[in-house]
C-alpha cells in the first residue's frame, strides 16, 4: 500500500500499516500488527478471525477508543473523509475534540452484548435523543420525532411506546434492534458492527441481519462487520479480511476468500466450519476433517448403536419454575420450562436436543442430572425410576450421568488445580482413592482427552478455552458415566477448536460406548454429531426423529423455520428468506393457565411430529 495522502473517490476509510500495542517496553503486546485495509462506500467489509486475533481492536482504533482502553497506536494511519470537518483526516492523530464530532455521528458502533450496551436506568428514547441532540444540534422535540422514526426503521412494533420503555422491558433481539436504531439515528457513513448477533438466537439473528442489510441499501452506509461466524460473514460481506494473531492473513472479495481461499490458515478455518446440508444422505455422525491431522489413520469407526435397551428413558417429564410476587409472596406465575417431554437414549447414541433460548432444553438436561426437581414424570436409568427413590439412593445415580457446561471459564473452580477438579467426582463415588492412585487415574484421563499429564498441577487460568473444555470433559469421564449431557459444550469455542472438541467427544463415544444428550442451538454442529434429533419449542418437543428425518424431511413449521434461519456458507449468494416477524412468546404463564400439550403423531418409523401449531401465536411460522 502506498502512503498516499488523498483517498480515491469511492474509498471512505483507509487503514494503513496500523500497529496498535498494549503495554510498554518488552512487555508490550501488539494487538494489531502492520494492518492495512480499505473500506469502500456502501460496501460491507467483514473482519473474521478467532478470538484474540485482534479483529475488534482495529475497529476500536477507527473510533479512537484505543487510548481509553490503555493501549496506543504505535504507527500507521487511518484516513477518513469527514463531512462534518470538511476534510480528510487521520483518525490516529485527530484531536479528541474533533474526534467527538465523528464518533457516534459519522462512525457509529453496535456491540455484541445488547444486554449491557444500553444504560439500564434511562429509557430507550432518551438514549437515542441524547445522541441526536448532541450531534445534530436539533431540539428535544425534533430529536424525539427522529428517534421514533429510527425505531420504526428497525421494525420495532409500537415505536411510540418503545421510546418510553426501559431496556429490561425488551427482549435481547429487541434491544439489539434498539441499539441499531441508536447507531443509525445520525445516519452515519460507517457502521461498525462487532459480533452484533453472536448473543442472539438464529431466527432472531436472521431478522437482525436482514435489517442491517436493508438499512445499508437505503442509506448507503458502509459497514465493518466483525464476526467469527463464517456463515454470517458469507451472507453479509462484500469483502473479507481474515486476521490471525494480530496480522492480516488474506483480503479480497467474499467470493474469492471464502470460495477459493489462497492462504493455508483460511483454508483450515473454513474446513472446520460445519456446513448445514453437508451430511445429506448419510445416517451416522461424521468426524470433522482437520487439516494437518490425517483423517483416515486412526479415525475410529463411528460405533453402531446398540438398540436393545435404552440407557435412559425420559417419560412425560414436566419441570416448572415458580415465580413469586405480591405482598404475601405467593406463587403468581410459573415458567413452563419443560412440559411432558419424553425420549430415550441408547448406549453409544447421541440425541441432540435443539431449540432457541428459553425453549427449556437446558432444563431437561438439568432435571436428568437432578439439579432441578421435576413437577411430574419419570427418568428411568436402565429401567429404574430415579425420582421415585429416596433421596440418599438417588445421589448414586449422579454417577450414571455427567454434565458438561457451556462456559469452560466458569465451570472450573479457579482456586483448584485441574487435577483436583478432575479427581473430585471420582472420590465422591469411591472410584479411586486419593494420593498416588488418584493422581495416576487423573493423568490417564488427561491424556485420554488430549492433554499432557504434566499439566495436572496447573490452575484453570493457565489453559485456553478449548483446553479447559477438555478438562471439563475429563472431569465428566472421571466417574465412568454411561450418559454425558453436553449443554452447549462447544458453543463458546472458536470453530477450529470446536471441531477438535467435537471430534474428541465422538472418539470417546466410540471407545467407551457413551450415550450423549447434546443440548445446543447450533444446527450445523447437530448435523455432524447426532444420531437422532429432538426439537424443542416453548418447553415441548415439537419434532423428534433420526437426523436424516429431521434435516432432510422436516415436518413441523418451527423445525423448518429453524433450519432456514441458519446462515449458509455460500459466498456470493445471499439467502432469499423471509425474515421472522414478531417475537417468540414467553413460557411464563399465570397460575392455572396451563399450556396446551401438543400431541405427537408418528409420520414415519421413529419420526414424531407435534400436531397443530397452537401456542405459537405471536410468531408467524409457515
Amino acid at each position: 500500500m502506498t502512503n498516499q495522502t488523498s483517498l480515491p473517490t469511492d474509498t471512505l476509510l483507509s487503514v494503513q500499516n496500523l500497529t496498535v500495542q498494549f503495554g510498554q517496553g518488552s512487555g508490550a503486546v501488539k494487538a494489531a500488527d502492520d494492518l492495512s485495509y480499505t473500506l469502500a462506500r456502501n460496501k460491507t467489509l467483514a473482519i473474521v478471525g478467532e478470538s484474540g486475533s485482534g479483529k475488534s481492536v482495529s475497529s476500536l482504533a477507527v473510533l479512537g477508543l484505543i487510548r481509553h482502553l490503555g493501549g496506543q497506536v504505535a504507527s500507521g494511519k487511518i484516513l477518513f473523509k469527514s463531512d462534518v470537518l470538511g476534510r480528510e483526516v487521520d483518525l490516529c492523530t485527530l484531536a479528541e475534540e474533533d474526534m467527538r464530532h465523528i464518533r457516534g455521528n459519522e462512525i457509529a458502533m453496535i456491540f455484541q452484548e445488547p444486554m449491557t450496551s444500553l444504560n439500564p436506568v434511562f429509557t430507550i428514547g432518551s438514549q437515542i435523543v441524547e445522541t441526536l441532540v448532541l450531534h445534530q444540534g436539533i431540539s428535544q422535540r425534533a430529536a424525539r420525532r427522529k428517534a421514533r422514526e429510527a425505531l420504526e426503521l428497525v421494525r420495532l412494533p409500537n415505536a411510540a411506546r418503545m421510546l418510553d420503555s426501559y431496556p429490561h422491558q425488551l427482549s435481547g433481539g429487541m434491544r439489539q434492534r434498539a441499539m441499531i436504531a441508536m447507531a443509525l439515528s445520525c445516519q452515519p457513513k460507517i457502521l461498525i458492527a462487532d459480533e452484533p448477533t453472536t448473543a442472539l438466537d438464529v431466527t432472531i439473528q436472521a431478522q437482525i441481519l436482514n435489517i442491517i442489510r436493508d438499512l445499508q441499501a437505503e442509506f448507503g452506509t458502509s459497514v465493518i462487520f466483525i464476526s467469527h461466524d463464517m456463515g454470517v460473514v458469507s451472507e453479509m460481506a462484500d469483502d473479507v479480511l481474515v486476521m490471525k494473531a494480530s496480522k492480516r492473513v488474506e483480503m479480497g472479495s467474499a467470493k474469492e476468500v471464502l470460495g477459493s481461499p489462497k492462504d493455508a490458515y483460511t483454508q483450515a478455518l473454513l474446513a472446520a466450519v460445519p456446513r448445514i446440508g453437508s451430511m445429506t444422505g448419510t445416517s451416522l455422525p461424521k468426524l470433522f476433517d482437520i487439516p494437518g491431522q490425517a483423517p483416515t489413520e486412526e479415525t475410529p469407526a463411528i460405533s453402531e448403536v446398540d438398540k436393545s435397551q435404552p440407557i435412559i428413558e425420559i417419560d412425560k417429564l414436566t419441570t416448572r419454575y415458580d415465580i413469586r410476587g405480591g405482598l404475601l409472596n405467593r406463587v403468581t406465575h410459573r415458567v413452563h420450562a419443560a412440559e411432558q417431554v419424553s425420549f430415550k437414549i441408547h448406549p453409544g447414541e447421541t440425541l441432540a436436543l435443539v431449540g432457541e433460548s428459553g425453549s427449556g432444553k437446558s432444563t431437561v438436561g438439568k432435571t436428568i442430572q437432578q439439579l432441578v426437581e421435576p413437577v411430574s414424570g419419570a427418568v428411568r436409568f436402565r429401567g429404574k425410576d430415579i425420582f421415585s427413590l429416596p433421596k440418599e439412593e438417588r445421589t448414586a445415580f449422579r454417577q450414571q450421568s455427567q454434565y458438561v457446561f457451556q462456559d469452560p471459564y466458569g465451570s472450573l473452580n479457579p482456586r483448584k488445580t485441574v487435577g483436583d477438579s478432575i479427581l473430585e467426582p471420582a472420590l465422591v463415588h469411591n472410584i479411586v482413592g486419593a494420593g498416588a492412585e488418584g493422581r495416576d487415574y487423573v493423568c490417564d484421563l488427561l491424556e485420554k482427552v488430549g492433554l499432557s499429564s504434566s499439566q495436572v498441577d496447573r490452575y484453570p487460568h493457565e489453559f485456553s478455552g478449548g483446553q479447559r473444555q477438555r478438562v471439563c470433559i475429563a472431569r465428566s469421564l472421571a466417574c465412568k458415566p454411561s450418559l454425558v449431557i453436553a449443554d452447549e459444550a462447544v458453543s463458546a469455542l472458536d470453530v477450529s477448536v470446536q471441531a477438535q472438541v467435537v471430534n474428541l467427544l465422538m472418539r470417546l463415544q466410540a471407545e467407551e460406548g457413551l450415550a450423549y444428550l447434546f443440548i445446543t442451538h447450533d444446527m450445523a454442529v447437530v448435523e455432524r454429531v447426532s444420531h437422532r434429533v429432538a426439537v424443542m419449542y416453548l418447553g415441548q418437543i415439537v419434532e423428534i426423529g433420526t437426523r436424516q428425518q429431521i434435516f432432510e424431511n422436516p415436518q413441523h413449521p418451527y423445525t423448518r423455520r429453524l433450519l432456514a434461519a441458519v446462515p449458509v456458507l455460500d459466498p456470493g449468494n445471499r439467502p432469499d428468506r423471509k425474515p421472522l416477524e414478531g417475537e417468540i412468546p414467553s413460557a411464563t404463564r399465570a397460575v392455572g393457565d396451563e399450556p396446551q400439550i401438543l400431541p405427537l403423531e408418528e409420520v414415519a418409523t421413529g419420526h414424531l411430529v407435534a400436531r397443530g401449531t397452537k401456542g405459537f401465536d405471536g410468531l408467524q411460522l409457515a
Binding site: 448414586a396 454434565y403 465422591v428
Partner: protein, 292 residues
C-alpha cells in the same frame, strides 16, 4: 504445550522452592508482627511488676534522655516502654480474639444462609439488620452494667456485634458464587453440600473477607480503648494501648510522647497485619500468584 518433564524431578534452589515467602509483604509483615508479638509474649517475664511502678519524681520525663526511661514517662512517672509492651497483652488479645471469633461465626452463618436461602436466611438477615442498627456503645454499657466489667466480656460483646458484617459480606459473595457453573458442576457429580460450601465456595469468597478482618483487628484495638476509657473494660491500672492514648490526651501539648508511642505501636501492629493479610490474599488466589 508439550512437556516431557514427566518423572524428572528438577532441582529447585532454596529461593525458588520458597519463592512465595520471598515477597515484600510477607517479610515486612512477619518482621513487624513477629517482633511485637514476641515482646508481648515475653512481657510478663520482662516486667513482673506489671507497669504499675509509680515514680512521681520522674513524671513526664521526655524520651531518649536516659536508659532508665528510654521512651519517657507518663504523668504518674510510669515507664512508657514498659507500659507499651505490657499493654499489648490486652490489646493484642482483644483485637485478635474478637476479630477471629467474629470472622468464624459470621462466615459460617453467612455461608449457610447464602447457600440454603429460605426461611432461616430471611430470619438471620432481618436479625442482622436489627443488630446493625443497634449502637455498640449502648449495647456495651447495658450489658456491662448487668454482668460487670472485664476483658473477656468485651471480647464476647465484640464478637456478638461484629459477626454481622462478616455474615453479610460472605452471604453476598455466596449468592453469586452458588450460581456459578463450577458449583453447579460440583452438585451435578454429587458432591456433599458441606464440601461444596467449604471446598468450593469459601476459598472463592476469602479475598474481601481477609481485608475486612485486618481492618477489624485495628478497629477493635481502638474500640477496646474507648470502652476502657468509659470504665467498661480492664481495670484502669492495667496498661492497654487504648487506655494510654486516652490518658495522654490531656498532655498532648506538653508531653507528646505519652500518646505518640502507644499510637505508633498500634499503627505498626495494624500495618504488619495488613501486610500479612495482603500477602495471604494474593497467595490464596492462583491468578495473582506467578506460577513457577
Amino acid at each position: 504445550m508439550t512437556d516431557q518433564t514427566q518423572n524428572v524431578k528438577p532441582r529447585v534452589s532454596f529461593r525458588r522452592k520458597y519463592h512465595r515467602f520471598f515477597k515484600f509483604e510477607f517479610i515486612a509483615g512477619i518482621v513487624l508482627t513477629g517482633i511485637l508479638g514476641a515482646l508481648v509474649l515475653a512481657a510478663t517475664w520482662l516486667f513482673p511488676e506489671g507497669g504499675r511502678t509509680v515514680d512521681l519524681m520522674a513524671r513526664l520525663t521526655p524520651p531518649f534522655l536516659s536508659w532508665e526511661h528510654p521512651l519517657g514517662t507518663d504523668p504518674l512517672g510510669r515507664d512508657i516502654l514498659e507500659r507499651v509492651i505490657l499493654g499489648g497483652r490486652i490489646s493484642f488479645t482483644v483485637g485478635i480474639l474478637s476479630a477471629a471469633g467474629a470472622v468464624v461465626l459470621g462466615t459460617v452463618i453467612g455461608l449457610l444462609a447464602g447457600y440454603y436461602r429460605g426461611l432461616w436466611d430471611t430470619l438471620i438477615m432481618r436479625f442482622a439488620d436489627i443488630q446493625l442498627a443497634l449502637p455498640f456503645i449502648l449495647l456495651a454499657i447495658t450489658v456491662i452494667a448487668i454482668v460487670g466489667p472485664g476483658t473477656d466480656r468485651i471480647i464476647v460483646l465484640m464478637i456478638v456485634s461484629q459477626w454481622v458484617q462478616y455474615a453479610r459480606l460472605v452471604r453476598s459473595s455466596v449468592l453469586s458464587l452458588r450460581e456459578r457453573e463450577f458449583v453447579q458442576a460440583a452438585r451435578s457429580y454429587g458432591l456433599r453440600d458441606r464440601k461444596i460450601i467449604f471446598g468450593h465456595i469459601l476459598p472463592n469468597a476469602l479475598g474481601p473477607l481477609i481485608i475486612l478482618l485486618t481492618l477489624n483487628v485495628a478497629n477493635n484495638i481502638l474500640l477496646e480503648s474507648s470502652l476502657t476509657f468509659l470504665g467498661l473494660g480492664a481495670d484502669p491500672q492495667t496498661p492497654t494501648w487504648g487506655g494510654m492514648l486516652s490518658e495522654g490526651r490531656n498532655y498532648i501539648q506538653t508531653a507528646w510522647w505519652v500518646t505518640v508511642f502507644p499510637g505508633v505501636t498500634i499503627m505498626l501492629t495494624v500495618l504488619g497485619l495488613n501486610l500479612l493479610g495482603d500477602w495471604l490474599r494474593d497467595e490464596l488466589d492462583p491468578l495473582g500468584r506467578t506460577s513457577r
